[in-house]
């Protein structure tokens, strides 16, 4: 069996090239791969395209906003490209206003489904979400079962950074509660999937096959979060 266990986060992100598309899961802090993001910040790759629910800086800890602020991102594909409150000026908002970073705004369900389509080998899909709004302008429309839909395309990643609760040596992953969020579709949509794991990685066979959320075939590299890692 191929060894997927890496000794450090720095080693796990080594060689990630400039210009890559990187997928960052996480919702309200849960399932957010902060240790891998910190390692990518140290690694310094630039001209990256990020796929994430938002552009980060949700709290004062490391998140995708750290990479934005460091000038490593050239574009963000998100469901939020404005701060949660007009008075909150995040580094992303400042750079976006100055045209120093590009962005694509996607409804959250469409964002998730575009990644699912990429992972599932689906060439695109029609959704009623955003029909009649300015986000649907210029997109192919089609009436299906009496309802108008717009065509959306798959969204692929070069890398996905994943935060899991448990893993085995084969790379099978389990998540706990709402930590799961975008992790599953991102692991499937990306070419290289790198995982930070909250528990000690167990031998293959120790996790129940019926309770696997991401099969190990999608997983390339794993690092157990050390006691002095970023836990929340």
């Amino acid at each position: 069996m191929k060894n997927k266990i890496y000794s450090s986060f720095d080693q796990a992100v080594e060689g990630l090239p400039d210009g890559s598309t990187v997928m960052f899961p996480g919702f309200g802090g849960g399932g957010l791969p902060r240790n891998l993001i910190a390692a990518l910040h140290r690694q310094g790759a630039k001209d990256l395209t990020g796929v994430s629910n938002n552009a980060g800086a949700l709290d004062d800890k490391v998140d995708v906003g750290t990479l934005v602020e460091a000038g490593q991102m050239k574009k963000m594909i998100c469901a939020f490209t404005a701060a949660t409150h007009p008075s909150r000026i995040t580094p992303f908002v400042q750079m976006y206003n100055n045209d120093e970073i590009d962005a694509e705004l996607v409804p959250q369900g469409t964002l998730a489904e575009r990644m699912r389509a990429a992972g599932a080998g689906i060439g695109g899909f029609y959704t009623p979400s955003s029909v009649g709004t300015e986000l649907a302008e210029g997109k192919e429309h089609r009436e299906i079962n009496g309802r108008m839909h717009v065509l959306e395309h798959p969204l692929f990643g070069d890398y996905a950074f994943i935060r899991a609760w448990k893993a085995d040596t084969f790379g099978n992953l389990q998540f706990r509660l709402t930590q799961r969020n975008f992790n599953v579709v991102m692991a499937m949509a990306a070419t290289v999937t790198i995982v930070e794991v909250e528990n000690e990685i167990v031998e293959a066979g120790e996790l129940e096959p019926d309770h696997i959320h991401v099969p190990g075939i999608y997983v390339d590299r794993m690092v157990t979060i050390p006691p002095d890692g970023i836990w929340y």
């Binding site: 919702f27 309200g28 802090g29 849960g30 629910n53 949700l58 469901a79 939020f80 490209t81 404005a82 701060a83 949660t84 007009p86 908002v93 976006y96 206003n97 962005a103 705004l105 996607v106 409804p107 959250q108 369900g109 469409t110 998730a112 489904e113 990644m115 699912r116 959704t127 009623p128 979400s129 955003s130 029909v131 009649g132 709004t133 300015e134 986000l135 609760w165 706990r176 509660l177 709402t178 930590q179 799961r180 969020n181 975008f182 992790n183 599953v184 579709v185 959320h213 929340y232």
Partner: protein
């Protein structure tokens, strides 16, 4: 002259929550609508859904008892309850687009008499915050809105047509503001209940759209 008291946000959300029916799957948006969860009639059997992939979660967690792995759509720590289930993000939106959500409650900048509403972008700012709002607005069975009746500058928010980019066309069914409860019908806004001390003429004066005043207009209902 002292300004007349308007309805509190909690009262607005309580009123919308009174409309929830047994076994409805309810999705509460970020911000004011989460207040709906403070009042759910105990005799009603409501099922909560949050777009980050949880069905059947309980009330907000007490301080010190938060579980870092369990949050609602607003990122607030909530509690587990019997029957709860977890989905990944794409499946959670399959629940939404698949038509399983009976009602979504959201905030808004503007609502129009044709049922359009706007809550994701202000043209003076670059970018926007859509989150799950467009999927929910397009696909939930009902869209309820909770918002202040007027802008901070006193401008109208119940309009003939939205001026801001809309979130979805023609979907709003019920609206609670700090001046009353409004139903949106094919004919436009119907004032169903007025805030105590406010008469229909005073409410109309603060509203751009023409309000329909039904003969059975009532005073706003508060939680028992």
């Amino acid at each position: 002259m002292a300004e007349k008291p308007k309805l509190e946000r909690q009262a607005m959300c309580d009123r919308l929550a009174m409309e929830f029916q047994d076994e409805w799957i309810v999705n509460l948006g970020v911000g004011m609508p989460t207040l709906c969860s403070n009042y759910v009639d105990p005799s009603r059997d409501i099922i909560t859904h949050s777009e980050n992939g949880v069905i059947g979660y309980g009330p907000l967690a007490e301080e010190g008892k938060e579980d870092g792995h369990l949050v609602n759509a607003g990122g607030q720590f909530v509690t587990a309850q019997p029957g709860m289930s977890i989905l990944h993000h794409a499946d959670s939106f399959a629940v939404i687009r698949g038509g399983m959500v009976d009602v979504t409650v959201m905030g808004a900048y503007e609502v129009a008499g044709n049922g359009d509403f706007a809550n994701w972008r202000i043209p003076s700012r670059k970018g926007g915050g859509i989150g799950g709002a467009m999927d929910l607005a397009a696909c939930a069975k009902r869209v309820f809105i909770a918002m202040e009746h007027n802008t901070r500058e006193g401008g109208p928010k119940l309009l003939n047509r939205c001026t801001l980019p809309i979130t979805a066309p023609g979907v709003v069914k019920l609206l609670a503001t700090d001046l009353g409860l409004f139903e949106i019908t094919p004919e436009g806004f119907v004032l169903r209940e007025h805030a105590p001390g406010w008469n229909p003429e005073e409410i109309q004066e603060l509203t751009e759209a023409k309000l329909i005043i039904p003969p059975d207009l009532k005073e706003f209902r508060f939680r028992a």
